[in-house]
């Protein structure tokens, strides 16, 4: 079960749910209910290696490409979510099954 920032359940297959799965995989120690509020400062173990791993997983999941400057900008769940919402080329779920 996936939760949004206000701890409401998010429907499976949505952008938010898919992103939550990425975060949960890279940061397995973070409870799923807290992922929507996850950030570089709140998650222990979110270092430069974790950033690259996370962004690579998201690239693979959503079929997008990040630029070097994104490494410093996309440092929270909400920042990544906003970034993805602003993209028209996000791959649909069925492409990734």
């Amino acid at each position: 079960m996936t939760h949004d920032a206000s701890n409401q359940v998010v429907a499976a297959g949505t952008l938010e749910a898919r992103l939550t799965r990425c975060f949960a995989t890279v940061f397995p120690d973070v409870p799923e209910s807290q992922i929507a509020g996850a950030s570089l400062t709140s998650v222990k173990g979110w270092d430069s290696v974790a950033t690259i791993t996370l962004l690579t997983v998201i690239e693979e999941e959503f079929g997008v490409q990040f630029e070097p400057e994104h490494l410093e900008q996309l440092v929270s769940f909400q920042a990544v979510l906003e970034f993805l919402r602003g993209r028209k080329d996000v791959a649909p779920l069925h492409r990734l099954a």
């Binding site: 990425c22 791993t53 690579t56 997983v57």
Partner: protein, 575 residues
């Protein structure tokens, strides 16, 4: 496997008490996703182990190798790239690609390759290594156009090929086959320039996955299959023997049946490497015998045992072949062109791997040959491989003779003139010992398997012993057929490894093994690390003869052994 899947596999919890498996991942670039994928593939291949992956310092392959020399490891995975041989062959350094630099780059690569080779050879004496030579394309350093092979590029590849050839001859080093890597990871898709510039990690994800899967496979080093059962008509040869006659079957270019010739050639090679090959065919046995004798097939009858040719079910043939070989069904492959016969065998013997011979699809048939090489591939060919088939054939004859009223067991064993050779050398350990321990099921004290490093580690304390036993009699040699290992504990002996090849059953070799332990170590009792397994029934029967129903903690005293041991006739020799 995708990165997210690799992470999920790597993060799976291991069972409590899982044995640790410590592997050093050594490379000059940032290990990043290679660490994740290798961890995941190792988890899949070692489900009962707790995987610990250790990495080194960025940009220092040789230094990382030097640090490995003193590390306590189960295995090492070493991945070398061109930039490890000279940083100018990477894209993170700007040392010059001009014509005047080329000679110096070659000199540097030659020197660094020699240094790395020496380090790898040193480490491999203690720790088994999986090694991958540069898998990325060379950067456009040479002044020639990219479609033309330059002397510069060729010389660099020659240096690396020399390194590979030397390492491939070392028993402790296993190399990734670049041809196989190219099949599953096209060279043009491997380099991720952005990732290399951004994170110091040069591989595209698809390449990391392929590379990690092969490294894990080299570390796992799966046990080869032992036997192959083949159909005849439209499989070993083209044509239905009963319809076209002995002169009508073929396996050559002239008859457009060359793929069957290639199949025979592969089976002959496998037989010469010690693989057991048998025939299961619905056929007239007289005609089959005539076909083998008159047509001079590439796979001769002398390399095949047994031949099951009749009109009964193939599953019955397979049952008899398994009994004659005395090997487990899970170590046997059955090949037939008939999906129905494959299904019938599979239903009766679910553990036998059944493969279709695609007689009308040469490309698929060729793929089958490549698959056979994977299933039966082994590290080396031993003396035992050369004599296996003959010793099984002899054992089968002996069983038949006994059934026909041959001399009683004691008399038979006496006249057989058996000789046992006991070798106590353990440094370095005979590689045949670990091979036997890791593949023997029926006469196996506890079913424990060992990695090469774990095996060496258990033998290193001075109070441990290792005995490798070879057997021969007037019918010929069986080779090295038994291994015992353990340690002395005061007036008792603790044995935690005891395996014996099924080819050596019924000769009282196991009795003689125990007699020799009491005699050589002068102990009053032998205790065993016995564990019942689904397959070690023959060992349990033997132990029960001396100690009742075997249980963990089982021990046999000298007096009990001597009171119950039947007469032994073997002559004992030291090598």
């Amino acid at each position: 496997m995708k990165l997210i899947e690799a992470l999920q596999v790597a993060h799976r919890e291991t069972a409590p008490g899982a044995a640790p498996l410590t592997v050093a991942l050594t490379c000059g670039f940032s290990p990043l996703h290679l660490q994740t994928f290798l961890g995941a593939h190792l988890r899949l291949l070692f489900p009962d182990h707790q995987i610990e992956l250790r990495t080194g310092i960025y940009g220092d392959l040789a230094g990382n190798l030097e640090r490995l020399e003193t590390a306590k490891l189960d295995a090492g995975a070493v991945v070398m790239e061109w930039s490890d041989l000279d940083p100018r062959l990477g894209i993170r350094r700007l040392g010059g690609w001009g014509p005047s630099d080329l000679g110096d780059i070659i000199s540097n690569v030659r020197a660094q390759a020699a240094r790395i080779q020496a380090l790898l050879e040193g480490i491999a004496q203690r720790t088994p290594l999986a090694f991958c030579s540069p898998s990325l394309p060379l950067p456009p350093v040479s002044y020639m156009p990219g479609w033309r092979a330059s002397a510069f590029d060729s010389t660099l590849r020659e240096i690396v090929a020399g390194l590979e050839a030397s390492l491939a001859r070392r028993p402790g080093v296993k190399l990734i086959n670049s041809q196989r890597l190219a099949q599953i990871s096209p060279p043009g898709d491997r380099f991720d320039v952005k990732s290399e510039l951004l994170a110091g990690f040069p591989y595209a994800l698809s390449h990391v996955d392929a590379l990690a899967s092969l490294l894990a496979c080299l570390i796992r080093n799966p046990a080869p299959k032992k036997g192959l059962i083949t159909d005849l008509d439209d499989t070993l040869w083209s044509g239905i023997l009963g319809e076209v006659g002995v002169d009508g079957v073929s396996w050559d270019l002239d008859h457009h049946s060359q793929i069957h010739g290639l199949y025979q050639q592969m089976l002959r090679a496998l037989a010469e490497e010690g693989v057991l090959v048998a025939v299961a065919s619905k056929n007239d046995p007289t005609l089959v015998d005539e076909a083998f004798r008159r047509t001079n097939p590439i796979l001769p009858l002398s390399r095949v045992f047994p031949v099951e040719a009749h009109w009964g079910a193939k599953s019955e043939s397979v049952s008899r072949i398994l009994a004659a070989w005395n090997v487990g069904a899970d170590s046997v492959i059955f090949i037939d062109d008939s999906p129905m016969d494959l299904a019938e065998v599979k239903a009766a013997h679910p553990e036998v791997e059944c493969l279709l011979f695609p007689r009308n699809d040469p490309a698929a048939a060729y793929k089958l040959l490549e698959g056979l090489r994977d299933l039966f591939g082994k590290d080396s060919i031993s003396e035992e491989d050369a004599i296996r088939l003959e010793s099984i054939r002899r054992a089968h004859t002996l069983v038949e003779d006994t059934a026909k009223g041959a001399p009683a067991t004691d008399e038979f064993l006496r006249q057989a003139k058996g000789e046992l050779t006991l070798s106590f050398a353990k440094d370095p350990p005979d590689p045949r010992a670990l091979e036997l321990v890791n593949k023997t099921n029926q006469f196996n004290l506890n079913g424990k398997r060992y990695t090469e490093a774990a095996w060496r580690a258990r033998l290193s304390p001075p109070d441990t012993f290792l005995v490798v036993i070879a057997y021969r009699d007037k019918y010929g040699p069986l080779g090295k057929i038994a291994v015992l290992s353990g340690r002395r504990d005061g007036r008792a002996l603790w044995v935690d490894v005891w395996v014996m090849s099924c080819r050596a059953f019924s000769r009282r070799i196991e009795h003689q093994c125990l007699a020799q332990l009491f005699q050589r170590f002068d102990v009053e009792e032998v205790a065993f690390d016995f564990v019942a397994t689904p397959r070690n029934g023959p060992l349990q029967t033997f132990l029960a003869y001396f100690a009742g129903a075997p249980e963990p903690g089982l021990h046999i005293s000298r007096s009990t052994f001597l009171a119950n041991c039947p007469p032994l006739f073997q002559k004992i020799e030291d090598p």
